[in-house]
């Protein structure tokens, strides 16, 4: 039973972090889909703020052993790659 509760907390932590990461991915996607629209200079700041918030959640979860640090890093790395792709699209315009 002890392991079961532990598992539940870990599962919920991962689900929550992935949901928060997905929200950022959606922000990036929306931005990519609207590249032809007038540029919003705040988008980078908004994304950076959201990324910082997520990284703090991940640090907290890692410190509590709710997720493995490797998993946390992977979530952030994947989002950073998407942000870089978006950045390159902007540069090409």
């Amino acid at each position: 039973m002890e392991i079961k509760v532990q598992q539940t907390y870990r599962e919920r932590a991962l689900e929550q972090l992935l949901a928060d990461a997905e929200k950022i991915a959606q922000l990036i996607k929306v931005q990519m889909d609207h590249l032809t629209m007038p540029q919003c200079p705040l988008y980078e700041e908004v994304l950076d703020t959201q990324m910082y918030g997520l990284s703090r959640e991940i640090d907290f979860a890692v410190k509590l052993d709710l997720i493995d640090s490797e998993v946390g890093k992977e979530i952030l790395t994947r989002l950073e790659q998407e942000m870089n792709a978006l950045h390159e699209l902007y540069m090409k315009k």
Copy 2:
């Protein structure tokens, strides 16, 4: 045993959040102690960023039922009061 593990996660979550809040309180205190030194225009931004990070950790912990939302609000409210006190000291100078 199930309750024990749950308790452990909750205890550790609260400890971690209080430790992170204490770090911000220390930042505020350092700033108050150095009011006579040249003003650093970045201090407010640094504190705001740290407060945002802590609020994200607290939201995450509340969603996972690791802390009660009232406790989370109290942690933030107390820090905000200290920030306001610091702000007032600046205004008086």
